[in-house]
């Protein structure tokens, strides 16, 4: 029997961009613009988005040998040029590993934009699984390594 557990975690990131809130918002709202910068670690995946309150976004993919990562989101609140709120869950194959709430706030800052990203998640008992453990460690190392390389 699966041992049940939940760990709550929050990630906050704050960044300034040299572009107006209107432009930064469009980079999230327009699927073509979003595809220019929001890329999966595993290359092209099955994905789609319907950017409106009540609309859904999904992205299914994963490493060739590994579990299928399924991201399913629901847009909860959208205020043009100011705020985007969505909830999502993440599955590895058929196991739901987390349920999260993401808030993106856009604040005018001179000619640019200050972006506040907050993700609050409940991480579920799948973490007992040794395969998930290995995948998580490897993914973290890969992500860290990639984040250190110049990205072109």
């Amino acid at each position: 029997m699966t041992k049940r557990s939940v760990t709550h975690g929050t990630v906050t990131i704050e960044r300034r961009f040299d572009a107006s809130p209107k432009r930064v918002f469009a980079a999230f709202a327009d699927p073509k613009a979003k595809a220019r910068w929001f890329v999966s670690p595993w290359g092209p995946d099955q994905s789609g988005m319907d950017f409106c309150v009540g609309g859904k976004e999904f992205n299914y993919g994963g490493p060739p040998s590994g579990p299928v990562h399924r991201f399913d989101a629901l847009y909860q609140d959208i205020i043009p040029d100011q705020r985007i709120v969505y909830t999502y869950d993440m599955h590895l194959d058929d196991v739901r590993i987390s349920v999260s709430l993401t808030t993106i706030e856009l604040i005018p800052d001179g000619a640019g934009t200050r972006l506040k990203f907050t993700e609050q998640g409940a991480f579920l008992d799948a973490f007992d699984n040794p395969a998930v453990r290995e995948e998580g460690t490897k993914g973290l190392m890969d992500a860290l390594e990639a984040s250190l390389k110049p990205d072109q």
Binding site: T7, G9, F17, R36, G121, G139, L140, L144, D151
Partner: protein, 115 residues
């Protein structure tokens, strides 16, 4: 409640360096002395000791002095699974924002018309 600013950031900082990652990978196979850790790295022993101090402060690695030899090992409970995933998502988003920054910079200049 896991507070990322107090528990994940030091881990992220500790691992965001190729030398320290190679030390962690080495220690994940077996414990090692400081000089064994320094062996494959082209740096002074004191630089290795400094990296070690950051790894110890993050809770990832512990060391114990037995006689004249300091032995280092991985602290297996430091990097909980949820913490790993949270740190990974953070790293993913940092990278996406780097790309967003580059994408925004590639756009033609914005017109000055105020709306």
């Amino acid at each position: 409640m896991l507070n990322q600013s107090s528990s994940v950031d030091p881990l992220f900082h500790a691992l965001a360096d190729p030398t320290r990652r190679s030390m962690v990978e080495r220690l994940s196979r077996a414990p090692a002395s400081v000089s064994e850790l320094a062996g494959p790295l082209s740096m002074s022993l004191s630089a290795v000791v400094q990296h070690l101090a950051i790894l110890e402060a993050s809770g990832l690695v512990r060391s114990e002095k037995i006689g004249r030899v300091r032995t280092c090992s991985i602290e297996p409970t430091a990097l909980g699974l949820a913490e790993q995933w949270i740190a990974q998502r953070r790293a993913d988003w940092e990278r996406r924002f780097d790309r967003l920054d580059a994408y925004l910079a590639s756009l033609p200049p914005e017109s000055d018309t105020q709306e």
